[in-house]
């Protein structure tokens, strides 16, 4: 800038810097309420994001889902190079979802130096292990699980067909008394994108049964979930049998709560071929029959 001294340029730079800071903070303040308002208009938002990213969004959605699982394990998480030969079949996203279905690892497996890493082969690997989390813990203390929610939400936004993201997020939302009510709109959003998802209907049923204490609505949803499961079975889409047994289990419990023995027996009969512990189911059927007599 001819005619402007170095001091003048200095002052100008400082002014530009100050202006930059002010703009940054002002923009953030201005954007915050708009982002909040966008919450109610999410379907449009999704389509814009989806259009922008094309098919790559599914890759990112999966990546963010895995990220949520890594968060659930406090960062101690095996990469593709860390899986030991015996464990390679285990999908990385199982644990967080398993925990959501009450099938997570036992406490005995937690807290140890991660076995997935095996023995270090050389000094570089040995030294390197000091600098990333290797202690296996879960985010299961009150309020901690909230940390996985952003990634699940992002995952669902990028791939609305990713049913697991809706189900897992709503499980953790339901277990946080302060945010339990957030589960319903999220599940409904998932249901809009996946109208045939028995998983979402099951989770929605659990929300009404456990959180809203509304067994009638819960029953309707479980029954709808079971009907969707059966439709898929009939269409040879190989629905998850474990999930089918879980739906029936919920229906049995719901019938038990309402004291309807016939309905209980009906669902237990349906459950028998799907259950892993068929004897236990048979015992329940026998006990109910004996009680009825």
């Amino acid at each position: 800038m001819p005619g402007i001294s170095a001091e003048g340029t200095d002052v100008m730079s400082k002014l530009i810097l100050a202006l930059g800071f002010v703009s940054t903070f002002s923009l953030a303040t201005w954007l915050q309420p708009r982002f909040a308002a966008m919450h109610g208009n999410q379907s449009e938002n999704q389509s814009a994001l989806a259009a922008m990213m094309g098919d790559s969004r599914r890759l990112f959605a999966q990546q963010f889902f895995v990220k949520a699982d890594a968060y659930f394990h406090s960062g101690a998480y095996p990469g593709i190079f860390d899986a030991k030969s015996g464990d390679t079949n285990k999908a990385p996203d199982v644990d967080m979802a398993d925990a959501a279905h009450g099938q997570g690892e036992s406490d005995a497996e937690l807290g140890h130096e991660s076995s997935y890493l095996g023995r270090s082969d050389d000094w570089i690997e040995k030294l390197g292990r000091n600098f990333f989390p290797t202690i296996h813990t879960h985010l299961d203390k009150p309020g901690q699980a909230r940390e996985i929610l952003p990634w699940l939400k992002l995952s669902a936004e990028l791939d609305p067909q990713k049913v697991n993201a809706y189900v897992t997020a709503s499980y953790w939302l339901r277990h946080d008394p302060k945010h339990a009510d957030e589960a319903e709109p999220f599940l409904r959003e998932g249901l809009r994108a996946n109208p045939d998802s028995y998983e979402i209907l099951l989770e929605l049923g659990k929300y009404y049964g456990e959180n809203k204490k509304d067994p009638v609505r819960a029953r309707n949803l479980f029954e709808l979930a079971w009907a969707k499961w059966q439709q898929q079975k009939a269409a040879e889409k190989k629905p998850d049998e474990l999930m089918g047994s879980e739906i029936l289990g919920e229906l049995v419990r719901n019938a038990r709560q309402s004291g309807d023995t016939q309905r209980q027996l009906h669902y237990l009969e349906l459950l028998k071929p799907l259950a892993t512990d068929k004897d236990s189911v048979q015992k329940q059927i026998d006990a109910l029959n004996a009680g009825a007599k």
Partner: protein, 286 residues
């Protein structure tokens, strides 16, 4: 101006830093010790040959300088003449340590040019001067003064003096990128003088300057000569060389064609310096 040239010329010193004041310094640093010996030839080039990898097909190397030997004595103003591509800049590059000679040797104040300490007492002005665009003249000179280890108090005084000398005092806080070409050339001269050098190497110092600028540079060279400084400069301006030089050398195709005082050369060839120059470079008058 007088203050600037007030350093006694015969006092042997190493820069102006605290190092030179150390009573033990001379015993620890042998190149400096050499400085305290009387050196007659400030610049000494012996049988210098410089080859570059050739870009022409069928030719592996190109000879830029071939068997050049010359000496520049203390207090002399030495003009280094030659057409474009004669090897003047290459010779200067060797003297400044930018290029390693293929064979032969070069020394400044008796120290091999490859030693950084050989450059402690020299000032250098390149033909084209570009300086850090993000610095102003004062900062540029402060940076170079630090390199010469000039103590802080003396540094500021010297910066003032040099800026006044080259008439850039009014623009000292302006970024160099905002200077005109003439001002940039003067800033270049200021940096070459910041250490009050005993030897100045100037590569076509007046190129691209207007007549007033040229006159100012000539004046400065004249003053340096009066102060007993040695000046080694290349130029195309034969009139300028005739005015200020004690001795000249004419280089053509990497070889030294003639060397001596202007009077000696003109007497020997029975023609003025311009005609001698044209004859040497092979120019035929129609």
């Amino acid at each position: 101006m007088a203050e600037f040239f007030s350093t006694p010329k015969n006092v042997v010193h190493v820069g102006h830093g605290g190092r030179a004041k150390s009573p033990h310094f001379h015993f620890h640093f042998s190149p400096i010790y050499l400085y305290s010996c009387p050196v007659k030839a400030v610049v000494e080039i012996k049988d210098l040959r410089v080859e570059y990898p050739s870009r022409e097909l069928g030719q592996r190397t190109k000879v830029a300088v071939n068997g050049l030997s010359l000496q520049v004595a203390a207090g002399e103003v030495f003009g280094f003449l030659g057409p474009n591509g004669a090897g003047k800049t290459t010779t200067m590059n060797v003297l400044l340590g930018f290029v390693n000679p293929t064979s032969g040797s070069a020394s400044i104040f008796g120290v091999d040019v490859q030693q950084p300490i050989a450059r402690q007492r020299i000032g250098y002005l390149p033909e084209l001067t570009y300086y850090y665009k993000f610095l102003n003249a004062e900062e540029l000179l402060r940076f170079y003064a630090k390199i010469f280890n000039i103590p802080e108090r003396e540094r500021e005084i010297r910066i003032d003096e040099v800026l006044k000398l080259v008439e850039l005092d009014h623009a000292r806080k302006r970024l160099i990128k905002t200077y005109s070409k003439g001002m940039q050339q003067r800033a270049g001269l200021a940096q070459a003088l910041i250490n009050d050098p005993d030897l100045l190497i100037l590569d076509e110092p007046t190129s691209g300057l207007d007549p007033l600028g040229r006159m100012k540079v000539r004046e400065i060279i004249q003053r340096l000569k009066e102060r007993g400084k040695t000046v080694f400069f290349s130029s195309h301006e034969l009139g300028e060389v005739e005015t200020v030089c004690d001795r000249v050398a004419i280089l053509c195709q990497g070889e030294l064609k003639t060397e001596g005082t202007v009077a000696e050369i003109t007497a020997k060839h029975q023609m003025n310096l311009e005609r001698v120059f044209l004859k040497i470079v092979g120019y035929q008058e129609e």
